[in-house]
Amino acid sequence: MHSLTEYSNKNYWICRVDSRVKLVVTFVLLVMILTYKGFTFPLLMFFLCLMLCFRIKIPLNTFVLRFSEPAFIAFVLLVLKLFFSGHDVLFHINLYSVSVTGYRDGLMTGLAMVGRIIGAVSVVVTLGFTTQFAEIMAALSWFRIPKSFVEISMFALRYIFVLIDDATVIYSAQKNRLGYSSIKRGLKSFGTLAGSLTLKAFEHSQNLTTAMVQRGYDGYIPLPETLPLKHTDIIVSILFLILMGAAWRI
């Protein structure tokens, strides 16, 4: 969690591509993946994104970690679809007195779903690895997303790490004092931790407001200026999307 946006390194071309262009490309790719019937196109996206992430030197364990949750969910859905959905029997096993039936059409639907999850996650993970949060927010602002939403997001991201540090200190103190030695004590400690975090958030917000007002804050945070769109970014993106569109149709 401590490295939300640290991988966006401007030495790599993909990180230098305009964030507005990257958002549009991501959106189009996600629509393609969600509307695709099989699992070859999503898998193609997965391998492309994997190669891109390796190219910009994302550690393998970080990449795998980002996939752990969606992969687990994909596995559960595959199992549910295999055993509980479909009519065309693929296999039948008798486990003691319980008979288990796997369905071929259920398996195919499940695999399509797994492909969709893996493909879509790869695209979003790549966007997250190659773009800084402030750039995404500036791009969203350019796309006329309400400024209040962007401002709340900027405040939130700025203070996530401060509050994580606060939470870590409180948690360690509670743990050292056997605050999690039983379920009852653990529940109470966890409640106190959440309450303390909320109190800290109130205190930080009051101090932050004072500090910002002293520095001329009038209720609006300036965002990074959006530069004119580069023609090369647009042309390369359109060519890439045409190529992907062709792959999607096959």
Partner: protein
Amino acid sequence: MGIKKIVFLLTLILIISAFPGTAYAMHISEGILPLKWAALWSFVALPFVLYGLYRFKKISSVDISFKPLVGLMAAVVFIISCMPVPVPTAGTCSHPCGTGLAAILLGPSISAVVSAVALLIQALFLSHGGLTTWGANIVSMGVMGSFAGFFTFKALRVMKIKLAVAGFLAGIIADWATYFSTSVELASGIKGDSPFLPLFWKILISFIPTQLPLGILEGAITAGMVVLLSKKRPDLLVKMRVLKPEDVTV
């Protein structure tokens, strides 16, 4: 559903629950929902988020410290919903939501905005939830969780129930409402040609090992938070209209 299938389903739940990975069962992962369902839930979430932003703008035009406060609450919700909590009955880790807590303090509509911000950051940088399932996750966590938690708390306080009990039950209801609506969204999204209800029950049952204890944890967190705030900073609870001035004993 026959008795054999029920036995098999329960066995399956136990097997899946035995995986030592991280479940994060609450958010719907990227790519699970087909395009039409992803779009539908986004349209459902939109008016709630827009109304929340309208309320936020209205309040922050009067109180300049409200913007940083909401941003920090978004950070708190982000952290709480990222905290991996061991669930001994399931053998996995999951997480509370924190929306009941945010709804009690900020009101349900602004809590929906806070959830939207937390979910966006999680989707972009942690693969927790997703961009295509953002709308669905806002509806379950931000809208259902917030409104259920808020109205439970208000109703219990009207009945003069103690602050800790009201907070505890509001947290539980917020959590379970979230998991109930997540089951509805998942079942409607992945059912394909199968009937909705049987799949809905299967998903609901498979959530029980994690979400049942987590609901209690969420209740403990919410209760701990309101009790701690009422002891340390009752003025804040009065300001946020959680307590009436006459409820605060000097």
